[in-house]
Subunit: 290 residues, 2 copies
């Protein structure tokens, strides 16, 4: 798995470098800031899942590459904006100062904006097949919009300092984290010309994987320190933020993580042997639990 | 012209209402904020130009409607973010308080983000023809990205309080205002299955129209009051912002506006009789000069 992940990360990084304007392009501060965020040590989880889903339905991963990179741009933009003083007000991300701490708020907002727009420019390089570019890019846009990614972030901010139910928390996570993970997988499967049945399987896998991932993220925020985590730890608790450990206790949260993980693995059955790659990735991603 | 404009505005407003999630959808503050900005009295200049360009190359405007609405969403998002405290820090827009004054900074940033994403969801409703959705939506994305719209805003911020040449100012305007106006026209022409020659004519028209429009905007900022303008007047001068009147004097700026206007009209020649609608629109838009 480590060799596979490193190889895929290399392919994605190279494609991102190729698709995006160089850091020397004017306005230089903007292009530097974009590259700084995009190459700040992200694990490329979403684009790797995208390429893997393409293969899991029987395709070669090449047609999925622009879609994988587009998803990573959108993920990166959402981190930049989430860290802003007006939002989560976070000074650290992946062990480094957040973008607005280095370049100032204006450039951080605009670098996020530009990454979101460039994501669609990159996604439009997808040539289409059984699922045309309008369908595929349209799905990516909806996953990034007010009903999914952005809607989830707003709901998350609104829930701060308020009592919410596990059901509400799940609804927030499905949009804030789950939608983009699921979409990464679905886009990959579509680029691989997935059958309706395979697409359904990949979708269910994504939803459960996304929830498991978020629960584990919440658990790590409680159990780990900033050094291990690379971002400000204990921040969720400090901000009276609704999390699984807060609502279910640490053991209850661990149980939930195991349940979602099992559901993710179960969803892969219709893909048969080819689904193994996604199962291995899920195993690797979710083993962060402690 | 007033009847034509009112009728087109009605068609566009209706389509926008149809394409976007209702204001009652959760998270409600986000969807309310989006609708508040989008229906805050914008003149719909860009989408009207988009539909007109579609007709000017011989098409029926219907296929251009999602593209026109997408452009308006992008224009609206850019206004919301430009007004933020970290950017132009403007409290007034179209005679009303800016979005962050009403809903706070977090919602204003996120409403802008959502509008940008939704713009691409709407644009992907374009069915395609001679120019496929990948080409058309990709062009819209590039016009909104780091090399055009966002790049222009960064260059504009960087120019504040610094001496710049007319040439630099023109380069800023071409990206900050010109790119989206030109793209609105080009997208409309593509939806109308424009020939290469017509598309070139529409592009040249857009560039000159965009420059003329911006010069006139700069002039109005000097000569008019907030009541007439609906936004904070004299702000450009107060912020030591590079403008045409500052670099060329008021008379020089008026001359530049007339020159760009003439060039816009000249560009329409290849369209023949059908280009009249664009000429009339240019005449109307640019008659704000005083």
């Amino acid at each position: 798995m480590p060799v596979y992940l490193a190889e895929r990360k290399r392919v994605i990084d190279e494609a991102l470098r190729h698709y995006l304007p160089p850091g020397t392009k004017k306005p230089q501060a903007l292009h530097e800031a974009i590259r700084h965020s995009l190459f700040a040590g992200g694990k490329r989880m979403r684009p790797i899942l995208c390429l893997a889903a393409c293969e899991a339905v029987g395709g070669d991963y090449a047609p999925a590459l622009p879609l994988a990179c587009a998803v990573e741009c959108i993920h990166t933009y959402s981190l930049i904006h989430d860290d802003l003083p007006a939002m989560d007000n976070d000074d650290w991300r992946r062990g480094k100062p957040t973008l607005h701490k280095i370049y100032g708020e204006a450039i951080a907002i605009l670098a996020g904006d530009a990454l979101l727009a460039e994501a669609f420019a990159i996604a439009c390089r997808y040539g289409g097949g059984r699922y045309g570019p309008g369908v595929v890019v349209g799905e990516l846009a909806r996953a990034s919009g007010s009903r999914a990614l952005v809607g989830g972030q707003v709901a998350d901010l609104e829930a701060e300092g308020r009592e919410i139910s596990v059901r509400e928390l799940r609804a927030i996570h499905l949009r804030k984290t789950g939608a983009l993970i699921t979409t990464a997988l679905r886009l990959g499967a579509m680029a691989g010309e997935a059958s309706r049945e395979s697409l359904r399987a990949v979708t269910e896998f994504g939803r459960s994987l996304g929830l498991a991932f978020q629960v584990i993220d919440d658990i790590l925020d409680v159990t780990q320190t900033r050094e291990t985590l690379g971002k400000s730890a204990g921040k969720d608790l400090a901000a009276v933020k609704a999390t699984y450990p807060r609502l279910l206790g640490l053991d209850g949260a661990r149980l939930a993580a195991r349940r979602y993980t099992a559901r993710a693995h179960g969803a892969l059955a219709p893909l048969g042997e080819k689904g193994t790659i996604l199962a291995n990735l899920a195993g690797h991603l979710l083993s962060r639990e402690s």
